[in-house]
């Protein structure tokens, strides 16, 4: 059977969650009136008594999830990334992370590919808000198979986890039976002149950029750092040592997310030129997803240009 070329990470989340509900009776799911969008409605239909709609109340969503975790359940709490991490940041901080509770926050609609709903609904700072929290594991799947693997992994892990999913479908990179390992980055393509580091949809764009660079005689390594926290810093350092220049690419502000994380590692352990592809001190806006990716400079071409600039900086930093 031929796999579909593209999948949406939120849709794959919804499907795997409903499947896991069958396997594990302790899973409970909470949503804040967005179950059709976050895809938790699939679980809700199958397991009515284990699904709790909290209404439009994200702070209460997180607190109730915390209580269910304390009561021995394994809660998955879902809403849009901006409301989960922005509206309820302090609930995540105080009640979930400070208490180190076994809550899985799976937030959809990360990044500008939310599209037409506009800047108010496009989370471009959620990874920054989550990455700074002690005890929390922060994950951004690069495709459908990785989403399924991460959700399965999160279920087996004792402690709080944040997973960011996306609205739109994008190309599949991994095998169907992909396994996720916490704290490990992946080398998706080997290269010698530069390293392209991506998360989420941007991993695919990094792979495309590597092909563009190859056509110009530049050999690019591509990393998927889907485990943003704890970060595979050794892989970043090794890549800096072996390729001498890096580009980070994320559907997020360049501050606080992947670009910052890579930059912190390089500055502390192995200074090397880095160019960060992402939103630069700006909010999102309404438009078609594809257009917005171009508008905000998140396309393979943009990554290619950043890579050439980073290579040009070699030996100068």
């Amino acid at each position: 059977m031929k796999l579909p070329a593209k999948q949406s990470t939120r849709v794959e989340y919804g499907k795997v969650l409903a499947a896991l509900g069958q396997e594990n009776p302790d899973i409970v799911v909470l949503d804040a009136d967005l179950s059709g969008s976050t895809q938790t409605h699939l679980f809700a239909q199958a397991f009515q008594d284990r699904f709790f709609n909290m209404g439009v109340a994200e702070q209460d969503l997180m607190g109730t999830a915390a209580g269910l975790a304390l009561g021995g359940k394994i809660p998955f709490a879902s809403t849009f990334a901006i409301f989960a991490t922005g509206r309820a940041w302090e609930q995540i901080r105080q009640t979930i992370c400070y208490g180190n509770l076994n809550v899985k926050i799976v937030a959809s609609h990360g990044g500008v590919t939310v599209g037409e709903d506009g800047g108010s609904h496009q989370a471009v700072e959620d990874l920054a808000l989550m990455r700074i929290l002690p005890n929390l594991v922060v994950l951004v799947p690069a495709d459908g198979p990785e989403t399924r693997a991460m959700v399965r992994w999160a279920l087996s892990y004792q402690g709080p986890v944040y997973i960011r999913t996306s609205r739109i479908a994008f190309p599949i990179i991994h095998e169907d039976n992909h396994r996720f390992e916490m704290g490990r980055g992946e080398i998706l393509r080997e290269g010698e002149d530069v390293t392209l580091v991506g998360i989420g949809l941007m991993v695919h764009h990094c792979l495309e950029a590597a092909r563009l660079l190859e056509a110009e005689g530049v050999s690019a390594r591509v990393l998927n750092l889907s485990c943003l926290k704890p970060l595979d810093w050794e892989l970043v350092v090794d890549s800096a040592r072996e390729t001498g220049a890096l580009v980070s690419a994320e559907e997020h502000l360049v501050t606080g997310g992947l670009g910052s994380a890579v930059s912190e590692v390089l500055t502390e352990f192995y200074p090397a030129p880095l160019k960060r592809v992402g939103l630069k001190d700006i909010f999102g806006t309404s438009g078609k997803s594809d257009f917005l990716l171009k508008h905000f400079g998140l396309m393979p071409d943009d990554i290619k240009e950043a890579a050439l600039a980073a290579i040009a900086h070699k030996g100068k930093s």
């Binding site: 209460d60 915390a66 269910l68 208490g99």
Partner: protein
């Protein structure tokens, strides 16, 4: 009778129903609070003293607990949503034998099991880490939902401050508790009418308070929060209410038990001076 139910009825700490005994426990808890805060040099005096009788009624008169075993699987659960009343909570947990009483006097010191605000990872008997106001009722709802999924008869109690309920999340959670008909949940509001900046009616009015809970779908009663017969009566009566969560608005006096601390906002978050400490001991020892 199924074994689980048998077990549920065994191993329960003897509940104190005698009013004089409860009063004496509360007097000792208040002495501990004053001593702890004086030795710590900081802490929240007023709200700990106002809540002391409520907590004694709950922990010694109502909740199913096993003295000496904070992890007893059939225990009732408590959330101190007004986390700054930690000294009163700790004094009670020590008396339940969850940790040695000497620990009380390490309150707020580096490395102590007794953090400035309740920390479940540090203190045996603390179920939920609190301190940032407004979050405990949601957690209590979640606990009650988990217990219901397990078809458990255990109950959940949560203590809220009357300044705390100015937080919007409380009212989100009030909707949730009623929507899911959490009848094993009781919220008690320590209505001492003061918050850090002054009287609640001047800072941000919370009235009509009982009507608010009632309107949100909670079975609501008002009691004198320093009267054990009234507290015990309301807690017992609440057990008979099915299909709705219960709210008890407990009218209290901030700083209750020591005349110089009573009904004064300035004693919200300070430790007693040496002089105040002596005066407090004198009054509480004579009480």
């Amino acid at each position: 009778m199924p074994r689980a139910e048998e077990r549920f009825k065994q191993n329960i700490m003897d509940r104190v129903t005698d009013e004089a005994q409860l009063r004496e426990l509360a007097r000792q808890v208040r002495l501990d609070i004053v001593e702890m805060l004086y030795r710590a040099g900081s802490g929240h005096l007023g709200g700990s003293l106002s809540a002391a009788d409520i907590l004694v009624a709950l922990f010694f008169g109502k909740m199913r607990l096993q003295a000496g075993d904070p992890h007893w699987p059939e225990r009732d659960l408590f959330v101190l949503s007004k986390g700054h009343a930690a000294p009163a909570y700790y004094a009670i947990l020590a008396r339940l034998g969850y940790f040695p009483r000497e620990e009380l006097f390490t309150l707020r010191k580096f490395g102590s099991i007794l953090q400035g605000h309740p920390d479940a990872s540090a203190t045996h008997g603390v179920e939920v880490s609190t301190g940032s106001l407004g979050q405990g009722l949601s957690v209590a709802n979640g606990l009650a939902l988990a217990l219901r999924l397990n078809q458990s008869q255990r109950r959940v109690y949560v203590l809220l401050g009357d300044g705390e309920i100015q937080e919007g999340q409380i009212w989100e959670a009030a909707m949730t508790g009623a929507h899911y008909g959490l009848d094993h949940l009781t919220a008690i509001v320590d209505r001492n009418r003061l918050q850090i900046d002054g009287r609640t009616r001047e800072v941000m009015s919370v009235e009509p308070l009982a009507q608010k809970w009632e309107a949100f779908g909670w079975h609501t009663v008002q009691v004198n929060g320093h009267s054990f017969p009234e507290l015990m009566g309301a807690l017992a009566a609440g057990d008979l209410i099915k299909g709705r969560p219960k709210a008890i608005v407990a009218h209290t006096i901030k700083g209750k038990g020591v005349s110089i601390f009573e009904d004064q906002a300035k004693y919200h978050g300070v430790a007693p001076t040496a002089e105040e400490y002596q005066q407090a001991l004198k009054e509480l020892q004579a009480a």
